[in-house]
């Protein structure tokens, strides 16, 4: 029963929780947090059930209000959307558990708004993933985006300005997307993705369709912060509260990437993609490769941990773009696996910056000392593990995403992509070990004080924050060893047959 309703239940759970939280919060502030945790747990439960059913029995299609597609709006759970949805719900659940103390500390008195907006954001994102209708996707995209702007705005002093920039760029992206959908609708007369996919071969040569697709890709690329359309991302991630960043960073850009997957691999005609749209794919790939290098270099230059991580997100989005542009099974596997890995790693790293903000009051890299290894040993250890994974060293999860992407690039002799992937590894070493040196080693200057020798009070983050951090850090190892299982059982079924 649940399984056939899963596609609609997940976004609705989040939206319902978003409505419920202000009501509950008015009575009891603490209950707001609990509602958010329960809501995301419930959604996680639905998404796991849905994923199981999808993998066992194929795609689940839910017709809203009983209208048959292509007239009515269809919610679809296929292996791809089920996987991304489970990822969203899983990350949200952990972030909500983590959030309590961090939110209380960083944005006091705004908890209720925060939790309500996070649920709204997730409702939007889950809707984007589930819907089988291009216009409906736009609506959910805007729900998620608006909630996202507000979430970013609840941050430090500068957050409002970052949120405004984010809003301007986000609106441009959404507008491009909507224009693209209009052009496709004008040519095909339908909005249902499956229906469009069937009609595509008949209209694919029309300039309107091609322009429409380009606009959709452009809009989505803006939303996923593909280089050089990434300018909004570092500001937004830096100034939002840590919990908000930990929520938006791992999944926000991924869902936009998902839209790109959905449109390019499931709506566009494969032959068309391989011939006339090949240039489009190539451009996505080269922009991704440029983003990998640029994001990494910019990350090296940052002195604030969250900002550094934000630039690294720009680079990581590049990996996914490269995977998309390869348009091969290996590229597909690499991109999806990397999306999963990056979500876990980035979430973990932002948790760590939250732990530091809570205990140190800042997350400035130059002010970190080797006292950290004494005062926050577990946080430091989690950082080490997550950093190793971000660099992409085996046997952590990060390596395997790169491995499949590298194989995919080699398979098609894309040496530029391959070198971008590999050079970024070295750059990642530079920016992560820079932090680790400060965390673990004595300061370099002769006059520097060795903080580890002083009596340092152990002030590890509270359990509600530490446990999620460590859980994510350890799951990086598990994901690394289980990657073959994940690829065979979860990712391979979602590869479209023609690839």
């Amino acid at each position: 029963m649940i399984s056939s309703q899963a596609p609609i239940l997940i976004p609705m759970t989040f939206l319902f929780a978003a409505m419920l939280i202000p009501l509950v919060g008015a009575v009891n502030r603490a209950a707001a947090h609990l509602t958010a945790v329960l809501g995301s747990a419930l959604a996680l439960y639905f998404s796991v059930i849905g994923m199981q059913t999808t993998l066992a029995q194929g795609r689940i299609s839910y017709h809203i209000a009983g209208w048959m597609p292509p007239i009515g709006i269809e919610f679809v759970m296929d292996p791809l959307s089920a996987f991304i949805c489970a990822l969203l719900c899983g990350v949200t659940f952990i972030v909500m558990v983590f959030g309590k103390r961090s939110v209380e500390y960083e944005i006091p008195q705004k908890e209720i708004a925060f939790y309500s907006l996070s649920m709204l954001l997730l409702g939007g994102l889950a809707g984007m993933v589930m819907t089988g209708d291009l216009f409906n996707l736009y609506v959910y995209l805007e729900i998620a985006a608006l909630a996202g702007y507000a979430l970013v705005a609840i941050g430090d002093k500068r957050a409002v300005v970052s949120a405004f920039r984010y809003l301007v760029m986000g609106t441009v992206g959404a507008t491009f997307y909507l224009l693209g959908v209009a052009l496709i609708f004008i040519s095909t007369g339908t909005l249902n993705m499956a229906d469009i996919a069937q009609l595509m071969p008949m209209v694919q040569d029309s300039p309107a369709v091609i322009v429409g697709l380009v606009l959709i890709v452009l809009g989505t690329a803006l939303k996923m912060a593909l280089f050089p359309m990434h300018a909004w991302l570092p500001d937004a991630y830096t100034h939002a509260s840590t919990t908000a960043t930990a929520l938006i960073a791992p999944i926000g850009t991924k869902v936009s990437a998902y839209v790109l997957f959905r449109v390019l691999f499931f709506v566009v005609d494969p032959d068309h993609l391989r011939t006339e749209l090949l240039n489009l794919l190539q451009i996505i790939g080269y922009l991704g490769a440029a983003g990998i290098i640029w994001g990494s270099i910019m990350a090296i230059c940052q002195s604030e941990l969250k900002r550094m991580l934000a630039y690294s997100s720009v680079a990581q989005v590049g990996y996914i773009a490269v995977g998309i542009s390869l348009a091969s099974p290996l590229g597909f596997i690499g991109a999806i696996l990397h999306a999963l890995n990056h979500a876990v790693m980035k979430c973990c790293l932002f948790f760590i910056s939250g732990n530091m903000r809570l205990r140190l009051g800042h997350s400035m890299i130059p002010q970190m000392t080797n006292g950290l290894r004494k005062s926050m040993p577990w946080t430091s250890a989690a950082f080490t593990l997550a950093a190793i994974s971000m660099i992409g060293l085996p046997p952590t999860a990060g390596f395997f995403g790169k491995w499949y992407l590298a194989l995919g690039a080699i398979e098609q002799s894309h040496w530029i992509f391959l070198s971008a992937l590999l050079i970024s590894t070295i750059l990642n070493v530079a920016y992560f070990f820079r932090v680790m040196e400060r965390m673990y080693l004595k300061p370099q200057e002769p006059e520097g004080v060795d903080y580890s020798e002083q009596t340092i009070v152990r002030s590890e983050a509270p359990a509600s924050m530490l446990v999620p951090t460590l859980f994510l850090a350890l799951s990086l190892l598990v994901l690394g060893f289980a990657n073959a299982w994940i690829v065979t059982n979860l990712i391979v079924p979602m590869i479209p047959g023609w690839l």
């Binding site: 290996l330 596997i333 060293l393 046997p395 391959l418 590999l422 070295i426 299982w485």
Partner: protein, 511 residues
């Protein structure tokens, strides 16, 4: 050698795992040094017998295999261990010397009052796991995974002192090691796209495939750059002398045996088990390898002459000797290959002996410069006696074991009709003598300063391992097949790589 039979056994896995399992125990007992070092020793004493228990099987042509987990879905590659003869050779050397190094470490670390000993012992244990993992890797992906773990686990040891110099060396080390890993990923990926397999196979995996001459050269150079960093092939050697800031046991076991030999081992795997002699010949890849390693042998020896810091001189000597092995492999003759393999184990015992001595001198007398060593032979007769044996060995004087391997290497050069390489071997032998004998001469034949008067021999924790490795070097020189059948192992490997008839092996007696 008989026909190779494979069987499934978890022993190789356990051998890898045992020192890894010691890590949490070492951390848990970080406040109780005795307990902590007990765990290290326990792991070392379990690991070596585990490795040894596989030896009779290997000699009889039975190879233990163990699949840990499927690690890559498409292509379908497993994290798989396979204790074949080459792996055994390396694993026996590394795990055997770990026992001695563990004892020595305890003496050294306590004697020198080093800080952060827990981190030191833990990293050391991880390094050993990774080394055995490298030795037993059944395919390139497994090799890469352990190779990267080794790179990473060595970093805390290099920066152990946490001073400016150590940090700089650490950064340099990271840059080299991580670049090497990256290059290897590319090489492995391309190899897979050509051959469709990554399993090590004696004689190579490219047989019967039409190869693009440019691509194959590129892949080979990528491979050699990847493993050559650890093997210290010039121009990729400069991290190694810099890494000498690490505590001496690290320099001894890791930067003379485990880590650098992992690089050389990689060269052996790549040449003998991925490309194979035929492909190497066909595309004259051996020429590339021989040019670089030959130049390294001579240049490193010349640089060593100018070093006043004892450990740096030893480091450059290591660079030279590693390239000996690589050069032997590049000869592509069975004798050269056998010689290279034997030198892998023989250089290990002699060089570790020399490093142990350097460490003992540092801990006992706080001397690191060669110019300060006047007269110490009278104060530390056992240590310097062992040093003399090691130095003689590396210079190629019989009956010490390194002579045996050099003999084979020279034979290999003659068999390949490579007079230049033969000349390189002989010249470098002379240079070895030139940079080692002054040290011995200073120690024994020059009067010592007054500061030596109150000092005696170093602690037993250090002297006993030193004497054991020195004795081992001599014994293995007199009888290469002693206990561990190193010669048979090496000869058997050459036979399988060059696919020769079994007659080649004159079992048990060296000519």
């Amino acid at each position: 050698m008989h026909e190779i039979v494979t069987y499934t056994s978890s022993v190789p896995f356990l051998a890898v795992l045992v020192s890894l399992a010691a890590v949490p125990l070492i951390y848990a007992s970080s406040n109780r040094p005795n307990m902590r070092e007990f765990w290290t020793l326990a792991a070392a004493f379990i690991k070596f017998p585990l490795v040894l228990s596989l030896l009779p099987g290997v000699m009889a042509g039975e190879v233990a295999e163990f699949t840990i987990v499927q690690i890559s879905a498409s292509p379908d590659i497993a994290l798989k261990l396979r204790a074949d003869a080459v792996g055994m050779l390396f694993a026996v050397v590394a795990s055997g010397l770990w026992i001695l190094t563990s004892f020595y470490s305890i003496g050294y670390m306590r004697g020198a009052n080093e800080k952060k000993q827990t981190r030191y012992f833990a990293s050391f244990a991880v390094c050993l796991s990774a080394t055995i993992g490298i030795a037993f890797s059944a395919n390139l992906l497994t090799f890469l995974i352990f190779y990267e773990i080794l790179s990473l686990a060595t970093y805390p040891l290099v920066i152990h002192k946490e001073n400016k110099e150590a940090m700089r060396s650490g950064r340099q080390y990271l840059l080299y090691a991580m670049s090497a890993g990256v290059v290897l990923i590319a090489a492995i990926g391309i190899t897979y796209s050509i051959a469709g397999t990554l399993d090590f196979n004696p004689g190579g995996i490219f047989g019967g495939i039409l190869l693009d001459p440019v691509l194959i050269k590129v892949v080979f150079i990528l491979f050699i750059a990847g493993v050559g960093v650890k093997a210290g092939i010039m121009p990729l050697q400069s991290w190694l002398p810099a890494a000498m800031v690490a505590p001496t046991p690290v320099s001894a076991l890791l930067h003379a045996v485990a880590v650098v030999k992992a690089g050389v081992f990689g060269v052996i795997r790549v040449v003998g088990f991925i490309f194979g002699p035929e492909v190497m010949h066909e595309f004259s890849l051996n020429l590339i390898l021989a040019t670089f390693s030959g130049a390294t042998v001579i240049l490193a020896s010349l640089i060593a002459l100018n070093q006043d810091d004892l450990k740096r001189r030893l480091a450059y000597s290591t660079v030279g000797h590693l390239s000996y092995i690589v050069l032997g492999v590049a000869l592509l003759t069975p004798e050269g290959f056998t010689g290279g393999l034997l030198h892998l184990s023989n250089h290990a015992t002699t060089k570790i002996c020399l490093f142990f001595c350097a460490g003992a001198i540092y801990v006992n007398l706080h001397k690191t410069k060669i110019s300060q060593l006047d007269g110490i032979g009278r104060v530390m007769p056992w240590t310097m006696g062992a040093f003399t044996i090691g130095a003689l060995g590396l210079a190629g004087v019989p009956p010490i074991n390194a002579f045996v391997s050099k003999w084979f290497l020279c034979q290999g050069a003659m068999a390949a009709d490579q007079t230049i390489i033969l000349g390189i071997f002989l010249l470098s032998g002379l240079l070895n003598a030139a940079y080692f004998f002054p040290i011995v001469q200073r120690a024994f034949f020059r009067p010592g300063g007054k500061d030596l008067e109150k000092h005696g021999e170093a602690s037993l924790f250090m002297v006993v391992p030193i004497c054991i490795v020195a004795t081992l070097s001599v014994l293995l020189g007199l009888q290469p097949n002693l206990i561990l059948n190193m010669y048979d192992l090496a000869a058997g490997i050459s036979q399988s790589v060059f696919q020769l008839p079994a007659v080649f092996i004159a079992s048990g007696v060296w000519p």
